[in-house]
């Protein structure tokens, strides 16, 4: 009996096979190679391109002593907190809430504008954002009309610029998630609260938000993990500058691996990035588990 039961189990999960094969071959395999490479001195060119040597934890030791690492870590956390957790998430929720109260025509139009930024190919969006923030770009021209002097935003406040650009780019996803989540909130709950004299803010904070807590946590997780991997946007806008002022971990990994040709070191940085992702992930899992019935 157990044999046929196990056979039935295997057959049941057979449909997962194509996905698993694809993931193992094209994702898991390379990721494991990347881990392995971080323990060698593999290079893109130079002596160690064809014959990388095993160096154990040397790359990680060097990483811990690298002055750019703490800066990069801090910038990455800042970028994720600012553009994902706060920016996209809160703005997406605000838009979703507003859209339920606005005229349908306005909702649809604004929805399209927000989604347009998300749908735009990454290179195009990155370049448009660069042009927007550059010295003779749209932002300075607008602020110039208000009397604000021309500033080089990408030089003076590079992190603010890339955070805003990423919020512009990704809010659509959160907005769509929350729109559907809000539509699932039972009307009776909010009406009952209104009968009891609760104002709009109180209804939002004490009724609506708790009901959609699951969606909030899952959205945070997805948005955070995706934001951790953002590279092209920052690279095109500031190339990590000035003076590493916007060098998040993906930018640092790319610079080390491809500009300096040090693959071993670059993949070590990427490993740190995965660890950060795991830390965020664990935090959200806590949040999810707390409210799961």
């Amino acid at each position: 009996m157990p044999a046929s039961h196990r056979r039935r189990q295997v057959l049941r999960y057979l449909p997962v096979l194509p996905a698993v094969v694809l993931l193992l071959v094209f994702l898991a395999g390379p990721v494991l190679w990347a881990f392995h490479a971080s323990l060698t001195n593999a290079g893109l060119t130079g002596r160690h391109a064809r014959n990388p040597e095993w160096v154990g934890l040397d790359n990680y030791q060097r990483l811990l002593q690298d002055p750019v690492l703490p800066l990069s870590l801090a910038l990455t956390v800042l970028f994720v907190a600012g553009s994902a957790i706060l920016g996209q998430n809160v703005l997406g929720l605000a838009l979703a809430v507003l859209m339920r109260r606005a005229r349908p025509v306005v909702s649809a139009t604004v929805g399209t504008a927000v989604v347009a930024a998300w749908v735009l190919p990454e290179i195009v969006a990155a370049f448009a954002a660069y042009a927007f923030f550059s010295r003779d770009g749209t932002l300075n021209q607008l602020l110039g009309r208000l009397g604000v002097p021309e500033t080089d935003w990408l030089y003076t406040v590079p992190m603010a610029a890339v955070i805003l650009a990423n919020v512009w780019r990704g809010t659509a996803f959160s907005m769509l998630v929350y729109r559907s989540a809000l539509s699932g909130v039972p009307g009776e709950l909010t009406e009952a609260a209104q009968m009891d004299g609760a104002g709009a803010w109180q209804r939002l904070a004490f009724i609506t938000l708790p009901v959609i807590r699951g969606s909030i946590a899952t959205n945070l997780m997805l948005v955070t993990l995706q934001t951790l991997a953002v590279f092209t946007l920052i690279w095109v806008m500031t190339a990590g500058g000035p003076a590493n002022g916007s060098t998040t971990l993906p930018v640092m990994a790319y610079q080390e691996a491809f500009k300096f040709g040090d693959i071993g070191y670059g993949t070590a940085v990427a490993t740190v990035l995965i660890l950060i992702g795991a830390v965020f992930g664990a935090a959200y899992l806590r949040l999810l588990r707390e409210q799961r019935p």
């Binding site: 290079g43 060119t45 130079g46 550059s134 030089y155 190339a239 000035p242 003076a243 300096f260």
Partner: protein, 450 residues
């Protein structure tokens, strides 16, 4: 039994057919193919044209041979990445490829390039190549691994209108750093809203910031980055500090652009596209390829550039011999170390770089000729008004010590210049930071105090 035998035979036959279909066509005895990889973009098609012509010539002269052109559409950085990836394994490595002089040494270290010494000695045209240019393809062991396509130099480009308005005598020939500072101050006094003298610095413009900036200073002090004799990196030189001090003075007295602008990677576009044509910039240090932007069909076409602009060599610190400094980069053609047809590939290379194709490419891309016959050609000399001036600098030009550690060293130099122009470090402090950085990159035993 017959049935079993025929069954086995048919299975074996099927297997053989499948294997034959799966393995790539054996080059021996039939079509022989040479793979050629190079860079091509919307505005850089000179190389593509050259290879197309060479392909026609070569295939006509060598029946049965196919030249497979593989242009890579990318900017310099991405092209380098793609090429490096392709060179990692013999099955994807091209036979002939376009290689930055910058990368020759580290690629030789990696075992990617074929030693060309024996083949070059048998090539008649090789002694028509300029001796200095030949250095570009040399590796640490003294062997030549790449053939230069063309080269470039750096000089001071200045706008005659701005200089006339400031009352400076033309043609302008600064003989020392002090001359530059004095002239810049004069311009500033006479035209406050003109940028007197631009010099790239900081990490924004990347390699260009040091090639068209710091190195012109450093190599004019008698110091250098790398000591060829001892094969060690130089630290603690007075020349390094002096060069940083010059930049500090230039930026501190507001004789150059505001530091924020210097760090914009796109500042050179303003230099070419806006400031020079509008006479808003007195002078800059830039490459000999500048006319390619201003000439007909260039990105910033400016019909009047021949009359308004002029070239002056960048002086040494005090005017000591040789009197001027220039830096050269340039690109080469190289052969893959594991190419299956080295002789054929080399022959194609010589076809691509013969006098005719060389001339066309050099003029098309505003390069400086590395072949003496091309340099003497009237078509080349009349390509733009400044060919003579920039070509004469080849005599004093220097090359970067392009080992595999160089990219990091370059980044350290850029950081030093950035710290100094933004005022966050003094020249002494920035030089000390650089020394520490170099020791960290190459190891203390590979540095030498000079």
């Amino acid at each position: 039994m017959f049935r079993r035998a025929s069954k086995t035979l048919s299975v074996v036959a099927a297997a053989v057919m499948v294997l034959a279909a799966c393995t790539p066509a054996d080059p021996a005895g039939g079509n022989r193919t040479i793979k050629v990889a190079y860079q091509k973009t919307d505005s850089f098609t000179a190389l593509d044209t050259m290879f197309q012509n060479a392909k026609k010539e070569f295939e006509a002269a060598n029946q049965g041979v196919t030249i497979e052109l593989q242009p890579i559409q990318a900017n310099d950085d991405d092209y380098g990445t793609k090429l490096a990836l392709a060179l990692r394994s013999p099955s994807t490595a091209p036979d002939v490829f376009y290689e930055d002089t910058f990368k020759v040494r580290s690629d030789v270290d990696a075992g990617y390039l074929l030693n060309l010494d024996s083949r070059l000695s048998g090539w008649g045209d090789w002694n028509k190549f300029d001796a200095g240019a030949k250095e570009a393809g040399k590796a640490d062991d003294g062997g030549t691994y790449a053939v230069p396509l063309g080269t470039d130099t750096r000089a001071i480009w200045y706008n005659k209108k701005v200089f006339e308005a400031a009352g400076i005598g033309l043609p302008w020939r600064p003989s020392s750093w002090q001359d530059i500072l004095d002239t810049a101050r004069k311009i500033k006094a006479s035209q406050p809203d003109v940028i007197p003298f631009n010099m790239y610095a900081g990490k924004g413009t990347g390699e260009g910031s040091v090639m068209q900036g710091f190195y012109e200073l450093l190599y004019g002090t008698g110091a250098s980055l790398y000591d060829q004799d001892s094969k060690k990196w130089v630290v603690g030189s007075a020349g390094f500090k002096d060069s940083l001090t010059f930049l500090k003075t230039l930026y501190g007295e507001k004789l150059a652009v505001p530091p924020a602008q210097a760090l914009d990677p796109n500042i050179w576009k303003k230099v070419f596209g806006e400031w020079f044509p509008k006479a808003k910039l007195g002078a800059t240090v830039e490459g000999s390829y500048a006319p390619s932007f201003w000439q007909d069909g260039g990105s910033y076409a400016w019909p009047g550039y021949g009359q308004d602009m002029a070239v002056a060599p960048f002086p040494t610190q005090t005017g000591a011999a040789p009197g001027a400094v220039s830096m050269s980069g340039g690109w080469t053609l190289a052969l893959g170390a594991e190419t299956k047809q080295p002789d054929l590939a080399f022959n194609f290379l010589t076809t691509a770089l013969n006098a005719k194709n060389s001339l066309a490419f050099t003029v098309d891309s505003s390069q400086i000729a590395v072949r003496t016959d091309v340099a003497a050609d009237p078509g080349y000399q009349s390509a733009n008004p400044f060919v003579k001036d920039v070509s004469s600098l080849v005599a004093v030009t220097r090359y970067r010590p392009a080992t595999s550690d160089y990219p990091r060293i370059s980044a350290a130099v850029q950081e030093a210049t950035e710290a100094v122009i933004t005022g966050s470090r003094t020249p002494e402090q920035a030089a000390a930071d650089y020394d520490t950085a170099v020791a960290g990159i190459v190891g203390g035993d590979k540095t030498i105090r000079k």
